[in-house]
Symmetry: C2
Subunit: 239 residues, 2 copies
């Protein structure tokens, strides 16, 4: 598949479009640190919450649990993280508000400008494991110009299940190979390619650590294009 045959772009969101680690640490520091006078390592808090993400989805992917929205999994995981960090006494409303920190993640500095350029040539859809309301609320706050919100909740299948990728291409009315996944994670891109989609790697070298991040520093050799930012991707796709 040549790049000029791509007709639609779909995006991984957590880590690719938005900086979940610093955003969650910021929210936890505000709500629990400044708000409650607690002293904890809020970066470690964010990482611990995120580390519970794949195991929680795996119970759904394996069929051991029916499909539930990511908001539900995030909240269950949050209760475990609060226990790990010995934080108690929060009201249900405070827990809900902290859980919805995932609806308030900040974009990377190049995200909005890059998406705006890419959108002139391609329809842009989210292809995230985040649920629709999460992606909609995030987009309204951050100004992300989606043409459609697709992904796990719409497909009722969490990535990397092939149905998640194929459902997005089908709903956008294009063949799988005409649908490109943009992601900062090689595992996601490999699964997209196995399902038949095209793949664009965008490096996000501080997603999981401020420095010396080793994960996903280089693109998997099977990607169709690799970029250092959404602006660079727009250059490479001729937008």
């Amino acid at each position: 598949m040549a790049l000029e045959d791509v007709k639609a772009l779909t995006f991984d969101v957590f880590g690719t479009v938005v900086d979940w680690r610093r955003s969650i640490a910021r929210e936890a520091a505000a709500l629990l640190g400044a708000g409650k006078g607690l002293e904890r390592d809020w970066n470690a808090f964010a990482l611990s919450w995120r580390n519970r993400y794949q195991p929680a989805m795996e119970r759904v992917r394996s069929g051991n649990r029916g499909f539930v929205k990511l908001d539900v999994l995030h909240r269950e995981n949050l209760l475990e993280v609060l226990e790990e960090f010995e934080i108690d006494g929060l009201t249900e409303a405070e827990i809900d508000h902290l859980n919805f920190a995932w609806h308030r993640l900040d974009p990377w500095p190049d995200t909005v400008a890059g998406m705006t350029r890419l959108r002139t040539n391609y329809p842009l859809a989210s292809l995230s494991n985040g649920n629709v309301a999460l992606i909609v609320n995030m987009a309204r706050r951050a100004g992300l110009p989606w043409d459609a919100v697709l992904g796990a909740e719409v497909a009722r299948a969490y990535k990397p299940m092939p149905e998640a990728y194929l459902s997005a291409a089908d709903m956008l009315g294009v063949a799988p190979a005409e649908c490109m996944l943009v992601a900062a994670h090689n595992d996601d891109l490999k699964a997209a390619k196995v399902a038949g989609l095209s793949a664009a790697f965008v490096c996000r070298p501080t997603e999981v650590a401020d420095e010396d991040q080793t994960k996903d520093r280089e693109p998997w050799e099977g990607v169709d294009v690799a970029a250092t930012s959404f602006e660079d991707l727009a250059d490479k796709l001729g937008c």
Copy 2:
């Protein structure tokens, strides 16, 4: 449910957001009239195509046929309309292009300005029987500022089945009554209310005829708000 409790707006599209009748007549006149030298009543052509819409969906709603996208139903219906109007000799590509006239419908004059105002206070989602690609392509051409594209294909249920309405509210993360359907059709609004949603009537007095349209000239008494345009609705919702 008071108007101030509404948290999200969903929209019927064909007839409410866009003027399907004049748009389809325009496309048919261009492709078949100007393009092929055929003389037909293109307004009647548009009405005949639209009249086959409900019976085609009813076969899916009744369970006699599995879910298929509206693009598929539109194309099957188009073949019947072409036969009715004694038009033959079109290539498959020409038939596809004419079928995708439904992706190129024009908004009513107040649509974009009204939606832009409404969007400042509410997330806006399509809740149409049109498939995702149809709504996305229409929105990109017409500049419709959707936050999400929901409706029949995402719910895998055609309106007026209650699942179509309830799925939209659920995906937007709001209670049914906090989700308002905006529509020019009282039957649609009644079904939304039965499902538990709120309902806003917007009068579109030339949807099916240039003058003397009798259908849906007045709101059903059960709606929560009635307006004469999207701008008027924005006024009435305080946007």
